[in-house]
């Protein structure tokens, strides 16, 4: 290792000591983002959450490919069918790879409730990259390959990884499609709040004085009124005949009108702390413009905090969308979001017969927890010099 830094390193016979000092040296010369990565890597839960979120977002981006069926295709024979049980060995004990048995609908002789029984004579193997219903990825690329599926179309025989809903639609496909709206609404909403938050929080923290006072009062005001009744009132005013995309943006704007306050507080706090730093004074003394001081010197030094705070703000947005759509004031069918899917769970009879209609809620919980853990990890990593 004949690098420039090695000259000053004391020669040590002890191998352990030398690797130790090599590590210390590595820390001294590493750029900041690398230090953050090292610190972040230590936060196991945050790493796992990061991976979970990447999987979720990939599924949302490629939902046409990941979902085995079109979310609107249905089969009345499978209304409220339970999740298909995946077998590996057939009734004679031979290994067949993953497959499902055919299911038949019968009536429970005692309660007359419809029940589904496996028909062990029909075997449908589950295949990866199986051809199925044709679709257009992002409305452009035509294909009929799906990540997985069985050999029969849904009309003949359905494969319901997470069960079917009241109309016999595949719940897994619908959750995957719903992820596209539910997960992106969090990001878009947070992005809009970020713009409000950075502008207003920045002004508040940078200039201080009367402007700061006014903006702080506004933030306190917004935080002291109950958000959901207000959101309900505003989203009820969105015209019902708007196309889905408009409603979607209407909702995100409404959510971020209230959501920016938390971000603005963080930005203001960092601005207040940094304003007094020597490097800002130095920049001002050599005649940098205000804009340059803010963008070139101040923003990079608190960017990592902003990213962490943003991550922690996403779950609130996802929750709000889910809640509003759930009570019917947000997105409405035929739009598919997790909140819209959960509407089905409002019918207590459906829930009692088919508890799997609650599963979109599990998707919500998993993504919210992941964002929380990821945000925690990022926040710890944001200050790599702290012990």
């Amino acid at each position: 290792m004949a690098t420039e830094g090695s000259i000053e390193r004391p020669r040590a016979d002890d191998a352990g000591l030398s690797t130790e000092s090599a590590r210390v040296e590595q820390i001294y010369v590493a750029p900041q983002w690398k230090l953050m990565w090292w610190k972040f890597r230590k936060h196991r839960l945050a790493m796992v959450s990061g991976v979970v979120l990447i999987v979720f977002y990939l599924a949302a981006i490629f939902c046409e490919f990941v979902a085995p069926y079109d979310p609107e295709s249905f089969s009345t024979r499978y209304t409220l069918a339970p999740p298909s049980r995946i077998h590996f060995f057939d009734s004679e004990g031979n290994f067949r790879g993953p497959f499902i048995y055919g299911i038949k609908r019968e009536r429970d002789p005692a309660t007359l409730r419809p029940i589904f029984v496996e028909d062990i004579s029909a075997i449908h193997p589950i295949r990866l990259f199986s051809p199925g219903q044709p679709y257009k990825l992002w409305g452009m690329l035509e294909s009929n390959l799906h990540l997985f599926g069985i050999d029969a179309p849904i009309e003949e025989h359905g494969f319901f990884l997470l069960g079917a809903d009241r109309l016999g639609r595949d719940l897994f496909s619908r959750i995957v499609y719903g992820a596209r709206i539910s997960l992106s609404i969090g990001l878009v909403g947070v992005f809009l709040s970020l713009i409000f938050g950075i502008v207003l929080g920045g002004i508040s923290g940078y200039y201080g004085g009367v402007i700061d006072n006014i903006i702080q009062r506004v933030i306190e005001f917004i935080r002291s009124i109950p958000a959901i009744p207000l959101w309900m009132g505003l989203s009820a005013a969105l015209p019902a005949d708007w196309p889905v995309v408009w409603i979607y943006f209407g909702i995100t704007v409404i959510l971020s009108l209230i959501g920016w306050t938390g971000l603005a507080r963080v930005v203001r706090g960092r601005f207040l702390a940094l304003r007094e730093e020597d490097f800002v004074l130095a920049a001002r003394l050599i005649g940098s413009s205000e804009m340059r001081i803010i963008l070139r010197h101040m923003v990079p030094s608190f960017l990592s905090y902003i990213i962490a705070t943003l991550t922690l703000a996403v779950p609130g947005m996802i929750l709000a969308e889910t809640g509003l759509s759930f009570i019917g004031l947000g997105l409405r069918a035929p739009a598919i979001s997790w909140g819209v899917l959960l509407q089905e769970a409002q019918n207590l009879r459906s829930v009692a017969l088919a508890p799997w209609v609650l599963l979109p809620g599990a998707a919500v919980v998993i993504s919210i927890l992941s964002f929380n853990f990821l945000g925690d990890g990022l926040r710890d990593a944001a200050d790599p010099y702290a012990r």
Binding site: R217, F221, R223, S224, I225, P226, A227, I228, P229, L230, M232, G233, L234, A236, A237, P239, P315, L319, T322, G323, F326, I327, G328, L329, L342, A345, Q346, L348, V351, A352, P355, L358, G361, V364, V365, I366, I368, L369, N372, F373
Partner: protein, 329 residues
């Protein structure tokens, strides 16, 4: 102290003014004015409306006049006569419908605050003083789950568990025979025997966040020199913890109790819709979907006002407890 209260009340007035503007805007948002939909509704039911009555209503709400006059008539009616307009869906004045429900919403929110503090403060202190013990991990796990699960989901799951495993339907705030009955001791008892469910559901969320913050705050405090000093002087550990660092670590909660109240009223709205309670949530939702805007606007106005008043009360209490706040500025 009096000066502090006076200043806080003065600050509240512009806030209330803005709240009233927002509520009024929400009333005005749907296309068309409410009178035309009222007339349409009467016609569809086969009733004829006479021109004099129509003119009287128009005059009362100032519908042919500019918006600020309408606002003035609306807010003036509320402030001077307690008249919040009429609910068209119910055919009653809004003020007859609204107070019971808002009262129950506030009762649930207050009970939730009390319950979550009663659980979270001891739990948070235990978690911080016994860091990395098994109960600490367990509490972290539970509080993360509480944080990740929206309270309306918890309510749904509770309903499902009640129905699927115990065969009882736990939705509804009153037993059937009391729903339309006038208030009586028995009705209150009946309500109290059911009200614990939303309180527990909402408390889960709130408790989770308190435990997490309290644990973090207290861990910071425990490393400070004054704790070490007190320990060195031989103060008993329990007395030491509860008397000094806990009080410091709790301060942020008392100062944000108003936000907690706002969040609880928010959460309660959704939970009540799920549990079909006779509180403000479901009625607000119905009013909004049927564009019964005077009812909806009044709900938003009153819920927000009460939250702001609650914040004021908590601020005054805080100032009473903590001299640093009332002597500031």
């Amino acid at each position: 102290m009096l000066q502090y209260i006076a200043r806080r009340v003065m600050l509240m007035i512009p806030t209330l003014f803005v709240i009233s503007l927002i509520s009024f805007a929400i009333i005005q948002l749907p296309p068309g004015d409410f009178l035309s939909s009222y007339v349409a509704q009467l016609r569809s039911e086969g009733d004829a409306i006479d021109a004099a009555q129509l003119a009287a209503l128009e005059e009362q709400y100032g519908l042919n006049q500019p918006v600020y006059v309408q606002y003035w008539k609306w807010i003036g009616g509320i402030l001077l006569r307690g008249d919040m307009g009429r609910s068209f869906e119910w055919g009653k004045p809004v003020s007859e419908l609204i107070w019971d429900r808002i009262g129950i919403t506030m009762l649930i929110s207050l009970l939730t605050i009390l319950l979550s503090w009663a659980i979270a403060i001891p739990a948070g202190v235990y978690a911080a003083t016994h860091q990395y013990s098994i109960p600490d991990y367990l509490m972290s796990l539970i509080s993360f789950l509480g944080l990740g699960t929206p309270s309306f989901m918890v309510a749904l799951i509770a309903l499902w568990v009640g129905l699927a495993f115990f065969g009882v339907n736990i939705s509804g705030l009153f037993s059937e025979q009391y729903i339309d009955a006038p208030w009586s001791v028995k009705k209150v008892l009946d309500m109290l025997s059911r009200i614990w469910l939303p309180v527990v559901v909402l408390a889960i969320d709130n408790t989770a966040s308190i435990i997490r913050t309290l644990r973090a705050n207290l861990l910071d405090e425990l490393n400070k020199p004054y704790v070490e000093t007190a320990r060195a002087k031989g103060v008993r550990e329990t007395v030491l913890i509860w008397k000094y660092p806990v009080r410091v670590a709790l301060n942020p909660f008392f100062s944000t109790v108003g936000w907690t109240l706002a969040a609880l009223v928010s959460g309660e709205t959704l939970v009540s819709v799920v549990l079909s309670y006779q509180t403000s949530g479901p009625l607000l939702l119905r009013a909004l979907t049927s564009q019964d805007m005077y009812l909806a606007g009044s709900f938003i106005l009153l819920l927000s006002t009460l939250t702001v008043v609650g914040t004021l009360i908590s601020d005054i209490l805080l100032a009473w407890v903590d001299p640093r706040i009332r002597l500031e500025e």
